[in-house]
Amino acid sequence: MPIGLRPVSDARARTFADPQVQAAWSALDCGFAQVADVFEECVKEALAVLSASQFAAYIEAARGLGKLGRGAEPILVFLQIWPTVVATVRGDALAPVLDLVRAMQKSPNGGAIAGFLQTLAPVARRLQAIEQLELYLGLLRELMQRTSTSIHGRHITFPSPSLPVFCRQAPQLLGLLSLGGLRNWVDYGILSHATHPERQEEYFALQSADSRAILQRERHGTLFADVERKLELWLRALWREGELLVPYSTAPLTHGEIRQPMPYYDSQGMRVPDVLDDAMRAGGRVSGLDRYRAVLAHMVGHRRWSTPQIADNWSPFQRMAVEFFEDCRVELLLIRDYPGLRRVFLALHPHPAAAGCDPETTSCLRHRLAMFSRAALDPDHGYADPVLLDYVARLHALLEGGAAGTADVAALALSWVAKTRRQSDQYARIHFTDTVIDYRDDNRQLWRFIEEGDEEEAFDEPRRRTPAEETVGLPPRRYAEWDYRTQSYKPDWASVYEALHPSGEAAHIDRLLQRHAALARQLKRLLDILKPQDKVRLRYQEEGSELDLDVALRSLIDFRSGVTPDSRINMSHTTAGRNIAVMVLLDLSASLNQRVADGGQTVLELSQEAVSLLAWAIDHLGDPCAIAGFHSNTRHEVRFQHIKGFSERWDEAVKARVAAMQAGYSTRMGAALRHAGHYLAARRADKRILLLLTDGEPSDVDVEDGAYLRADAKRAVDELAAKGLTTFCLSLDRKADEYVREIFGQRWRVLDRIERLPEQLPMVYLNLTK
């Protein structure tokens, strides 16, 4: 075959019987045999949907796609999907789609064209409207432009690593997110992983943890986390149940999972989905919250009234029937207690059509059971089958009788199975439509299996013993971090490990305090004035909040009898008590090893002196006070070291820990502030103060943008303020004006003469607590 000439088997030569198809084929000018194979079918489908002009544009667009030089796939996919897309969005989105294709073709992203077209039809099905589809196309274009990179200058040389992955995921994502939510999710992915192609790919393939976390946050529907308290209260109010509720993930399935989990309960708590959408059912709209309530009510019913049955001797069909009957029984009992539940159950329960299943070709067992279940709950079920009516009546009669248990209902179910049994129940084709009752749990608590299986070796299987895992330290506590660029939180971003600070020699601190004995005496005088006093009623006041009737009468009597009356006849109340909790948070980063400008002391030593004096002073005041230090080594390791707990006295053990203070690593302020706030917020006090002692601005080795950690620290301070905690910063950095104001607002002080810290720090504390 001479180079540059078309092969003889060029598909252009193909002929079609239908003249319209033949004309279109000529116009298409396409040489791919695969296309020719399906062309007639595509044209017929297109003609049914498209107008004449649309059809011409369709063929023209396909012709263009065939000449991109990217093989048969783009044109093939386009020809097949386009009529569907037009039909679903009810409009012509051809121009924007072609625009996007052209833009891809011009950039290094041409390889993604086929993938993009492939998922266009399912995406269109999710979006339904042409405006929505255009927004989606815009989103794709933006993603492409922002993630295609260049290594030298202006020309984009590398394709976007995330575009093909994203196109693949798009239909699934749109099933979970609104378009707005999808945009947020995409934005986050681009901003967080712009410089790391592999991470970016993982994010958009929904394989990384943060990707799933953000997805969860943006999902539509009722999030469990938002209604958790409502549900707990509801369980308690209606059912006196204090059971733990544990959400399970309903996020897109990862590889290996075969089906979506169902609600269930075990000794560890009740498992419910982490999100439930509002359900549009025949009976009307059911809110996500009501669906949660239905799920919980059903499980409560089982917990109350169901007793486990031995499953070994029953066939799977029998077990299924028993489950359905038992579900009905507990729901009827629930409705007896709370009649309003019937409305919710019925709204969620499918109403299968009596003739919905053909017993000649399909296994109808599920269908019959679902009809039975409906009829049991719904007085207006409208079924006429005499057997069904008979059994419904028998079930109701059983319940009327009072003491019917799971075993009685199981017997009824078995008799029903025997009576309604059909040969076709064994068929592999099973009728599922309208038989799934999604608020019911998986009934795992209903069964006891005596044998684990039928296999012989199962009998000799040795008991496995799992050795107790050794726990080293506490598991980390994770905190979100604020990203000012996306104006959103990065979930579970920083891991804080906490530990007890190692101990040194307590005598060192005593010597230190001795050196400042004069200062300590001065402080002591101050503290005596500030010592807490109880709430008092102030009587004999010239001016007060109310009249002291007894004193007033006495004065009046004095006045009438000619004696000079006492004019102090009012009284008032005052609260002289102090109820303050303080947490001192020490920055222990490497910069503390620097020396103070004009002295031999290091900043660390100075900080040590200051903390010792402060703790001593607070101990004298009798206010609860805790001390902790922190430093960080990337977001994965923020170390938080306890030096003094709230209930500890300022004693040898604490002094020893202060003596052992050491400096190292970096300053991830936000996470440390949040963790300290976590402890402080648990204290009950009128005033709670978090005092941060630091020598530099927040920084960490894994963050290049200093503004990021500053913004996060500011956010952390705001969060603490919202919890009612006062944060105060003492910065030892002379240049701190620039950033400390940004983080702490008015509540900060820079010690420009760093040597005065031991004097200043206690003063600051006293000012704050006045």
Partner: protein, 267 residues
């Protein structure tokens, strides 16, 4: 100044015994022992005391205690009139003089130094010294002291001194059990027993939340309020919301929960 008849209770108050409290109270009165009635708000403490006063045919002097009350408010004080000063007996003194049952409601609300004045009346002395007047009032043989308090919002600040507590015999009251309570509600408000039972069920849902966001459960008094609203023609659901949910909480989650409970119960 005040006659015995003035404080007598003429009509029988409606009270349905939850147990043997009527007999026990009568025994305590026969021995002239001071009585303390404890229980959550609105469970019938005051009504019980009223009922017993009627049953025993004794006058009843009730004092609602509050934080601003001083010892003079209980004992009495000098007042001025045209001719000079005049002594006015306080409610406690009056009761001691005429032989009434003196009922100090919500005693913990009063300041602790105030409550100490009742001590001499509650032990073997049975007398009340009036220091300002220089008189010691010996209690009438029929006099009895009854106090009530609600241990629900007991805090360290608001508790009785041990020396006060140990001068009383005590009853522990609680909300009546469901059928009895429904009977009470039906009788008080004149509604049907079945509806009363539903209202009580709503109240019980609220009581289950005590300690989980509610400081105090829905009282029988509120159930009666709701029943009264129903009798005025308000729908049962609205009456429950107005009388039993809105007053007790500002917490949106609890409100939503109880609203749902109402819908579930009333069907």
């Amino acid at each position: 100044m005040s006659s015995k008849e003035h404080f007598l209770i003429n009509n029988q108050p409606f009270y349905r015994p939850q147990g043997n409290e009527v007999v026990l109270y009568a025994a305590a009165y026969a021995a002239r022992l001071p009585v303390m009635v404890k229980g959550p708000t609105g469970c019938g403490k005051s009504r019980f005391v009223e009922y017993m006063a009627w049953k025993l045919g004794r006058p009843l002097i009730s004092v609602a205690c509050n934080e601003d009350m001083t010892a003079s408010d209980l004992v009495g004080r000098y007042l001025l009139d045209a001719g000079g000063t005049r002594w006015l007996d306080g409610p406690l003194t009056t009761a001691a003089r005429i032989g009434a049952i003196c009922y100090l409601d919500e005693i913990v609300e009063a300041r602790q130094d105030t409550t100490v004045v009742i001590h001499p009346l509650t032990d073997h002395r049975r007398s009340l010294p009036l220091d300002k007047k220089g008189e010691v009032v010996a209690a009438h043989p029929d006099f009895q002291l009854v106090i009530s308090y609600n241990p629900g919002y007991q805090s360290l600040m608001k508790d009785l001194k041990q020396s006060t507590k140990q001068r009383f015999t005590a009853f522990d009251f609680d909300y009546p059990e469901a059928t009895l309570e429904a009977g009470i509600v039906a009788n008080e408000a004149g509604i049907e027993l079945a509806l009363a039972a539903q209202l009580v069920k709503v109240a019980q849902a609220g009581r289950n939340l005590k300690g989980h966001g509610l400081d105090e459960g829905v009282s029988t008094r509120l159930v009666v309020y709701a029943a009264n609203l129903v009798r005025q023609g308000v729908s049962a659901a609205d009456a429950c919301r107005m009388a039993m949910v809105r007053p007790i909480t500002d917490d949106a989650d609890i409100r939503a929960t109880l609203d749902n409970a109402i819908d579930s119960i009333l069907g």
